[in-house]
């Protein structure tokens, strides 16, 4: 490959961050336009790569590999396969929209956009790195922008939430680091490709593979988040500024699911099978418990935040059902949850910004006053509960189909039926939320509330279009995901 596509996509946002941080002048417009340009180009390039990706050849494409740190045998190794490409595309897409969503940020805009762009680089880095050290560095760098973004531009108990987020993440990565180091010394390699292909034939008795599996898994489970490691999520999501909630729910927690598939499942297929039972049970608890807690929420953002716990339970279920269909479903669910919850957070942010009320019990009757926001919010809500023709349906259907037919664990079909109860609960809270916010008697105090303006309509409709596209024709994504997942399923032997 002559041109370093992935490096360009990876570092353009970071370059933009540096330009924004250093450029002279106090014109807020300038920062915003710069941020938009430096995220739009990676999006365009990512779309190009998505189209140019050779679906028949499969494997890792657009690879770049240079020796980086010779004493550690570490390479600057980038590449995408069918699994990471859509997630990278999603990151660039939401990264661009996050800039548009933040168009009305007025407090310290220079720093805000610099951190936001840096955040995008680190998340893209997680999805495209094929070297464990590089992967871990990208995973860790993300903490700093998040800390600043939540604690400066957040709301409510922002300092508490930001610190909690950092401590949880670092604790998870402490275990992950130990896991990566043990992988490194048992295999002598930091290359994810080599380790996945070569297997752990050299594992020594001193360090059982199961221990490495769990060390890595804890790191990813914190990020996913898996019950009972989820308690950072409602705080961070609720108190973060809108664009950051979108990034957090949209792509950041997907790093956990991606890591599980890429490292835990494909490097430790037999351990994954061995522990599938317990993990699936935890997934079920997450689905039901998350949905039940969501039903209790009154704060609009907190409600969406808790719903993420439930939805990421489906991802966990799909991953550890360990079948081709279920893994494809889990990947699609990650993508779908990214756009759907991203849209929900964007809408909630818009309501909070325009109406200046975030308590659902105090909202009501807004359907008349802000019809456009209402329509989009309803679409997002229905996608979230998995209505056919939306991406949520396609994803959840594949997960349930895959897990129902999988026989990796005894009675998985029973578990699946329990999981489906979660969908009913989801319908419950989504409909309640829509009803509370938009229906009921019209309240006079909201008469002057503004509806979405041109820019807001643009990003809303962009997200709705993608939700519909994936819902009606999921093959646009599943074809690519399958290319990435087939080799992993072969490793499992299913």
């Amino acid at each position: 490959m002559d041109f370093n596509w992935l490096s360009t996509i990876l570092f353009l946002p970071a370059a933009g961050a540096i330009v924004i941080a250093l450029i002279k002048g106090k014109d807020e417009k300038l920062y915003k336009w710069l941020a938009a340009v430096f995220t739009a180009i990676p999006l365009a390039l990512a779309i190009y790569l998505f189209v140019a990706f050779d679906r028949t050849a499969g494997g890792i494409q657009f690879e770049e590999s240079y020796l980086w740190i010779s004493p550690l045998n570490s390479y600057y190794h980038l590449g995408v396969d069918g699994l990471s490409l859509p997630l990278m595309l999603l990151t660039t897409f939401l990264g661009f929209l996050a800039v548009l969503i933040s168009w009305k940020v007025t407090s310290r805009p220079r720093e805000f956009f610099a951190w936001l762009l840096l955040l995008e680089t680190s998340i893209i880095g997680v999805f495209v790195s094929l070297d464990l050290l590089l992967f871990f560095i990208m995973w860790e760098i993300e903490v700093i922008p998040m800390y600043f973004l939540i604690s400066v531009w957040g709301s409510g108990r922002k300092g508490y939430s930001a610190t909690k987020y950092v401590i949880y993440t670092l604790l998870g990565s402490a275990f992950m680091l130990a896991g990566i180091l043990s992988l490194y010394f048992t295999t002598g390699s930091l290359s994810m490709v080599d380790i996945a292909n070569g297997g752990l034939g050299m594992v020594q008795a001193a360090m059982p593979a199961a221990a490495i599996f769990w060390l890595l898994f804890i790191g990813f489970a914190v990020k996913l988040p898996m019950f009972p490691l989820h308690t950072w999520l409602p705080d961070a999501h609720t108190d973060a500024p809108t664009a950051v909630s979108v990034m957090l729910a949209g792509v950041l927690i997907k790093m956990g699911g991606y890591g599980m598939i890429r490292l835990c499942v494909s490097m430790f297929p037999s351990q994954a099978q061995e522990y599938a039972q317990i993990l699936i049970i935890l997934a079920l608890i997450g689905i039901i418990y998350g949905a039940a807690v969501t039903l209790m929420q009154k704060d609009i953002k907190r409600m969406i935040a808790y719903s993420s716990i439930s939805h990421m339970g489906y991802v966990l279920l799909g991953i550890f059902a360990l079948g081709e269909v279920s893994l494809t479903g889990a990947s699609l669910q990650m993508f779908s949850h990214g756009i759907v919850t991203g849209l929900l957070f964007a809408m909630a942010g818009l309501i909070i910004h325009n109406v200046e009320v975030r308590d659902l019990t105090k909202l009501g009757g807004l359907a008349k006053q802000i019809p456009i926001i209402m329509v989009v919010f309803v679409i997002a809500g229905l996608a979230s509960l998995g209505l056919p023709t939306t991406s949520g349906f396609a994803a959840e259907f594949l997960v349930f189909l895959g897990s129902y037919t999988s026989n990796v664990v005894a009675h998985l079909n029973v578990y699946t039926i329990i999981a489906i109860i979660g969908v009913v609960l989801t319908a419950g809270y989504i409909l309640w939320m829509l009803q509370q916010a938009f229906h009921g008697p019209v309240k006079k105090e909201f008469n002057k509330v503004k509806d979405a303006d041109g820019l807001e309509r643009f990003y809303m409709f962009a997200l709705v279009a993608v939700i519909m596209l994936v819902g009606i024709y999921p093959a646009v994504l599943t074809d690519v995901f399958k290319v990435g997942i087939e080799p992993i399923v072969k490793l499992i032997g299913g």
């Binding site: 010779s70 050290l133 760098i141 700093i144 600043f148 604690s151 401590i167 604790l171």
Partner: protein
């Protein structure tokens, strides 16, 4: 005898004497500062030129001039250079003792350099005293109540530690009849010495050196001395003294106590235990601190803990071919740059706000964004978050430890890094999120800014392309594979 190989030391000593003499005759005191800097540069050039001369020895094998010694010569000279650059504004607090300040820094650097090159118990002790006595005086140089109290504490506890060390050396000498490191090992091997007196001697020496590197339970002096000493001296102490302690431990425990493997394994485990308590005590005690110098004092205890993970690996893996010590060397370089950067930023900031309280750093991000950014970078490096050097240093040291069966230690160390994030980030939080009491900028002359810029550039460079420095560290630690 080959005095050629002793040029850097001679240059340093001569510069120190010249600085004191010149002080008597010139009015323009800043000349002594530039003279010191020039002396360091010349010594550095001499040291760099020696880099090829492996295995040479001086004074009847009492001082070595190998690549390990050269590595530390350059490190200590670099530290002294940055400290002197960073003292340009701060020196006004020393009133009439400016030249003495520079001369003492040079002398103490000389002591540290000798510590890293000494290959005989006697020279080790002499070098250690040269470094320590200069430091006692430096700590007292502010001449106020706190500074004097700190110096007295440091002196008394330091004297006890020296006595313990000397007692240990005497026991080792008594059991083996040798003071030369390599001869000790030969005596141990030949006579199969395993008397309790010998082991007590080794343990006492760990205690004596443990004082230098501020390992728990020999850390009592740290918070008070760090708080009371002039801030530039605190910075110098926190990196120079520690690096010298580790240099001497690496050399002594490899050359004298490296064989047989049962013994090296035993002291490896001792260091592992010390590492665990140092990390836990340092990190937990740092959390409630309100004075930034005290906090960094406890943090330096914790950092010594991470470094001792490397020592433990060194002991446990003595028989294997991996370069466990190169991790320690790399960590020392990265720690020196990071901590010096932090202290120089603190020197500049506290000069303006006249306070070392963390709460008074409020709004520094608005008052002086670049200064706050530099301090933030250093703190992030101390936590060990990429892309700063601290991450690579930890990764390197931990990866070597994990490879040699110390994964439990790595997990404890990694969790400790998480605890440390809490108190380092508190400073970051105060600087960027709290509102400033005034809008005045923090002024500074050029030289401290240059020093700070060098530190920050180094921290980023080692964090992003660490390969070269790792190579150098491996080269320097090649003497341990002989």
């Amino acid at each position: 005898m080959n005095l050629e190989l002793f040029k850097p030391e001679i240059t340093l000593a001569a510069t120190a004497v010249l600085v004191i003499l010149l002080d008597l005759f010139v009015q323009q005191k800043s000349i002594t500062k530039y003279l010191s800097l020039a002396g360091i540069i010349v010594a550095g050039v001499f040291a760099a030129l020696m880099s090829g001369s492996d295995g040479s020895a001086l004074f009847n094998n009492m001082v070595a001039a190998d690549s390990f010694a050269v590595f530390f010569k350059l490190l200590f000279l670099g530290i002294a250079f940055l400290v002197i650059l960073g003292s340009s504004d701060y020196e006004n607090k020393f009133a009439n003792f400016k030249s003495e300040y520079y001369a003492l820094i040079l002398l103490s650097t000389l002591g540290m350099i000798l510590m890293a090159s000494a290959t005989d118990l006697i020279t080790i002790y002499v070098a250690l005293e040269l470094a320590s006595v200069s430091l006692y005086v430096l700590v007292s140089l502010l001449k106020d109540k706190k500074s004097t109290e700190a110096a007295i504490k440091y002196l008394l506890l330091g004297a006890v530690a020296s006595a313990v060390l000397l007692y240990g050396m005497a026991l080792v000498f008594g059991s083996t009849g040798e003071t030369q490191l390599t001869a000790i090992t030969q005596a141990v091997q030949a006579a199969g010495i395993n008397s309790p007196a010998f082991y007590v001697g080794v343990v006492l020496m760990i205690g004596g050196f443990g004082f230098k590197i501020a390992a728990v339970p020999f850390q009592m002096w740290v918070p008070d001395v760090y708080e009371g000493a002039p801030t530039t001296v605190t910075g110098y102490l926190s990196v120079g003294s520690k690096a010298a302690g580790f240099a001497v431990i690496l050399r002594v425990f490899f050359s004298a106590f490296g064989m047989p493997f049962t013994m090296s394994h035993d002291w490896g485990i001792i260091f592992a235990v010390l590492a665990v308590v140092s990390m836990i005590v340092g990190n937990v005690a740092a959390i409630p601190q309100t004075n930034i110098k005290r906090m960094l004092g406890y943090s330096s205890i914790a950092q010594a803990g991470y470094l001792m993970v490397g020592l433990a690996t060194f002991g446990v893996a003595m028989s294997s071919t991996m370069y466990a010590e190169s991790g320690v060397l790399f960590f020392l370089v990265s720690y020196a740059l990071t901590n010096l950067g932090a202290f120089i930023a603190i020197v500049i900031i506290s000069d303006k706000i006249n306070s070392d309280n963390i709460a008074d750093y409020a709004g520094m991000g608005k008052r002086s964004p670049l200064m706050a950014l530099a301090l933030t970078l250093c703190l992030i490096s101390l936590i060990g978050i990429p892309p700063a050097a601290g991450f690579m240093a930890k990764f390197y040291i931990f990866s070597l430890a994990a490879q040699n069966g110390l994964l439990w230690l790595v997990i404890i160390a990694a969790i400790n890094s998480v605890i440390s994030a809490y108190y380092y980030l508190r400073v970051v939080k105060v600087m960027w999120f709290n509102s400033a009491p005034s809008k005045e900028k923090v002024p500074s002359s050029v030289l401290p800014k240059v020093a700070l810029a060098i530190c920050c550039a180094g921290v980023l460079l080692l964090g992003i392309i660490p390969g070269l420095m790792m190579k150098l560290a491996e080269l320097a630690s090649r003497i341990f594979t002989a």
